[in-house]
């Protein structure tokens, strides 16, 4: 890990209903290249909103988000370019049901001229091999199990060669026996040095893989630190209360 900041967020606010709902209420943070950050917190505290702001799926009400020193909240910025560098994995996979697995993975790289069709397919097949799904390349998403779908969703995002990967509760929609296979892929990715922000309830994953754990509540970062600090010695009362409930 070096000290280059990949993401800088300052004063980030997201309000709904003219400020009646303050999903994010002033978030400041920085992410270094190669860092793995796990975000935890009670339901409705703004974890998804925060993650989705980072590629402007939610447009912030206030504040700045710098991706490699470009402020993506600036209206003049072409967000499509920046989204190519930010992979996202969703709770409900969001694979495209009308395309084969291979097409799911090559659509964006080919359309966005990141690779020729042949190169993109070759790469996609390699990726599928890594996650043990090379024989499902011609299958449609409906034919896969939840765990398989999520592994495809991860490598689909990786096909764009992103600089950072966002995961919003990637295992929450899975049957328990499939959680492990998805977490394994994520661990491998972390070990390869990918910068990752992960919202999850898998505290074991957080302990094992995270460089930093962030506890959010009421739209702000309440506390952050190493997994050691957060799980074994939390300072904030809210953090303690939350961990008591989930651990």
């Amino acid at each position: 890990m070096n000290d280059k900041k990949l993401i800088r967020v300052s004063g980030l606010k997201k309000h709904y209903k003219d400020g009646a709902i303050k999903a994010l209420n002033g978030v400041d943070m920085e992410v270094s290249k190669g860092e793995v950050i796990v975000i935890i917190g009670p339901s409705g505290c703004g974890k998804s909103t925060f993650l989705r702001s980072l590629n402007l799926l939610e447009v912030p009400t206030e504040g700045q988000i710098y991706l490699s020193d470009v402020d993506i909240t600036d209206r003049k910025v072409n967000i499509n370019i920046h989204r190519q560098k930010v992979g996202m994995v969703f709770q409900h996979f969001n694979l495209f049901p009308n395309m084969t697995i291979l097409k799911n993975m090559t659509l964006a790289p080919v359309q966005l001229k990141k690779a020729t069709k042949e190169a993109a397919e070759k790469k996609a097949l390699e990726m599928l091999r890594v996650v043990g799904l090379e024989d499902r390349a011609e299958a449609y998403p409906n034919q896969l199990s939840g765990g398989q779908k999520q592994r495809v969703a991860i490598v689909r995002a990786l096909c764009m060669e992103p600089e950072v990967m966002l995961f919003d509760e990637p295992t929450s929609a899975l049957d328990p026996e499939m959680v492990g296979e998805v977490l394994d892929v994520m661990k491998k990715l972390a070990a390869e040095g990918m910068t990752m922000l992960v919202v999850t309830h898998e505290m074991g994953f957080a302990r094992e893989v995270a460089d930093r754990v962030i506890f959010m509540d009421e739209g702000v970062i309440m506390e952050q630190g190493t997994p050691e600090e957060i799980f074994n010695n939390p300072q904030n009362e809210r953090t303690k209360a939350f961990l008591n409930k989930v651990l």
């Binding site: 499509n80 190519q84 930010v86 969001n94 495209f96 009308n98 659509l107 359309q111 969703a153």
Partner: protein
Amino acid sequence: MPEWIVKLQKDFVTAFIEDNRWKYLVEGIQNTIILTFFALILGVVLGVIIAAVRTTYDKQYEEIKNPVGKIFLAIGNWICKVYLTVIRGTPAMVQILIIFFVIMASSDNKMLCGIIAFGINSGAYVAEIIRGGIMSIDGGQTEAGRSLGLNYVQTMWFIVLPQTFKNILPALANEFIVLLKETAIAGYVGVTDLTRGANIIRGITYQSLFPLLAIAAIYLVMVMFFTWLVELLERRLRKSER
């Protein structure tokens, strides 16, 4: 042979065979199909444009940066809304009379007038079918497309619209069938469609039973044929996901 059978036979001959009167029905079938087909094409073209304007306005208005583009989109959206309200709020018969006797009064191409009238009418319904279809696609699909860096148009074209098309196919087919039957009123403004064909025979022969039964049967067969075609297409589309 009982007398009533003999009479029916004679009526049948009068209605269809004498002077080759069946040709009125054949011409009617042709014209009804031409009218329906081109009206539907016009309707789909209008419907796609309107649905595009309306959904782009709903989904994309906030994201557009060019102020001039924003104004155009807002005006376009407003026009589409007025069109939808007027067309869906007035009887098709009235719209057709207005097109024939007011807007296109100077044209004597009745078929063209009919295509335009029914196309404009159908466009409103098609537009709402398409828009409903687009809205029924899970928002996660758009988000996944956009998060990969695809722009709005690419996401719509490759991801949302193909799924929409499959979902709305039954409703579109239904609209086609509704339109096919609705063209029966085109005879009122002089298009020699199928119903008009039967009416011409009735006028000449003073007989109603056979001409009217015949066109009812013909409409029914056409509708059943198209229903079957659509089922075939649907099954093929569904297979691509199994």
